[in-house]
Assembly symmetry: C2
Homo-oligomer: 350 residues x 2
DNA sequence: TTGTAAGCGTTATCAC
DNA sequence: GTGATAACGCTTACAA
């Protein structure tokens, strides 16, 4: 009951050989129906379970994929991981998760560990601090599919799944313009990161299209937390002419901005409209719900997983797929002028 | 550069045997310093990497643990997973995550899959729908450490890490009583689950200690989402005498309750004080911050991991450890009467 | 100190 | 259709 049952045990019991048992278990055509059924029956009786590790050694496929993110417990990443898991589990893959804490050294160590563990693929979001790429090349050299999601490294021959941050920034800004705003501030994250640059570019493009002059004073670069939002709001308050809208590259800074403005008696959205980015859960729980750009995280995970599967299915050909998902602007209370009744109908609580 | 380097390749190059190489690599004392250094040097030159799968087959230890939760992207679970990962990764373990979607069948399937994959341990939170326990016993029969966190099955010989939900319920209710409330409603989740029963019991105990009669009308059982909070508030509004406080077993229902009450012109916390449970991130982002009971999720994960490690370190002895962490009441704005200035000082924004 | 050989549990390639 | 044997990459008695 307790011992590990191998195909040898079944073979011994049936006085046949392990090879035959293996054939029966794997529906190999070169076997008689009689023995096949007998083996199957006996295997069930003896409670045989295939040892996947032995299979992995033999076949060179572990059926494990490594997923690397900065922090598992950020809603953005955990939702992506959920998407990955739900796409891969039915295909027989297990998902190994690892965290980098945004540190390049941990990222390197983690990748090497995963390679040693013989993972069949690596799906990851690059750490903020990462500047080198030898560790990525080590993955490619072993012909292990590598798929980036959200944050990618500039590397030839690697697939990636991102959202169209440019479009997200454009849509958010355009929406604010449609609300009648013209002095639109932008709070961005570290512009060394592609995602923040793209949102910024989208912002500028929307302004340009509307014939609104770009004003450097209205752009503030900060970290992506609530405190930075307070800071940003204070900077904006120093200006001669207060903006009438804020597009923030982060929901947390958007929240901070709203809080600080409220302290100063500024009414949102009447005086200033605000749109955030990421559709963090809290944005729709607030008393004043916050407009935001949804990044379809689960979908991003699912797509990343599918890109991996496609590469696995076609090992001979090198697939370099750059998928760009379209983000979705969710218009909520923080950006809709209360006196605009027609627009009010479009407010989404989702 | 591209080929897989094994110890045989190193052996061949140095005209020694694989056994010697293995010994050198593993700091086996039975080897001369000279060959040890030579092997090490050559291994590095040839870019040798140990194949963990081969090691796993040989040793019977995969250095993988399975972690099973209902949904990965719930903040509660993803934080626990983070705690587990951070405790286990430095010890050389990889964390495989799986989701049950609260379905018993998936839980069973997942456990069997993990066992086939030869995981060294299973850390999990039991699905809501689970009623049987043969699948848990299958784990135990193989002498694989099984550790429950938060939700456990009634099973002999299994370790678990939970929080003291009774204490959490007691503290929350006691706090409301200290605020001068006496008609305290309780919104609970499915009482078939131990965690909700315990919180409920803690609630009743606090009432009893304060000499407040238990009133069945003030107890409403619902699901744990915002809509259920709306429903619960409506039920309470039907009562002849409105409660002056609400202790909710869920932050989401607490939010729903607050929203619905506000719609009816009821002031929080002036008219009704509210305390939730779980310390969901949004509770401290609200304009009116919501008091809640923190479940020290990261710590729960870390402790669960340590319990697993302890069992691994002592394979001969059967360890049954029931760890109960103490939850922490976080008093925020939703439960502190504004005219009570002394208490106001204790308001936490954390 | 080093070599030899067996074994972990499978599957695949030969023969018969 | 079935059996014997090698191989995946590693560790470890047992010999030498």
């Amino acid at each position: 009951m307790n011992e590990k049952i191998t195909i040898y045990d079944i073979a011994k019991r049936l006085k046949i050989t392990a090879a035959t048992v293996s054939r029966a278990l794997n529906n190999n055509p070169k076997i008689s129906e009689a023995t096949r059924l007998l083996v199957l029956k006996t295997a069930k009786e003896m409670n045989y379970k295939q040892n996947k590790v032995a299979l992995a050694l033999k076949s060179g496929k572990s059926n494990n994929v490594g997923v690397i993110v900065p922090y598992i417990n950020r809603n953005f990443f955990s939702s992506i991981i959920r998407g990955i898991e739900e796409e891969l589990y039915p295909k027989g893959y297990h998902v190994i998760i690892c965290q980098t804490h945004e540190e390049e050294q941990k990222e390197i160590k983690t990748i090497d560990n995963l390679l040693n563990a013989q993972v069949d693929g690596v799906l990851m979001s690059v750490s903020k601090q990462t500047t080198t790429s030898e560790h990525f090349e080590r993955v490619l050299e072993k012909h292990i599919p590598l798929v980036f999601f959200d944050r990618r490294a500039q590397l030839k021959g690697v697939s990636s799944v991102t959202i169209d941050d440019y479009q997200g920034g454009f849509d958010a800004t355009k929406h604010l313009i449609d609300q009648g705003c013209s002095r639109i501030a932008h709070i961005c994250g570290d512009l060394k990161l592609e995602i923040y640059r793209d949102r910024f570019e989208g912002y500028k493009a929307a302004l340009k299209q509307a014939g609104i002059a770009y004003n450097e004073d209205y752009v503030i670069q900060t970290k992506s937390d609530t405190e930075s939002g307070h800071f940003a709001a204070q900077e904006l308050l120093k200006l001669d002419k207060l903006p009438d809208a804020v597009f923030s590259s982060s929901d947390h800074t958007a929240l901070g901005v709203i809080q600080k403005f409220k302290e100063h008696g500024i009414k949102i959205p009447k005086d200033i409209c605000v749109v955030g980015f990421s559709n963090e859960p809290f944005t729709k729980f607030m008393e004043l719900t916050i407009s935001s750009v949804d990044q379809c995280t689960m979908e991003m995970g699912r797509v990343a997983a599918r890109v991996f599967l496609e590469q696995v299915k076609n090992p001979k050909i090198k697939i370099e797929k750059k998928v760009e998902l379209t983000p979705q602007l969710l218009v909520r209370e923080s950006s809709v002028k209360v006196n605009d009744t027609t627009k009010k109908l479009r407010v989404s609580k989702g």
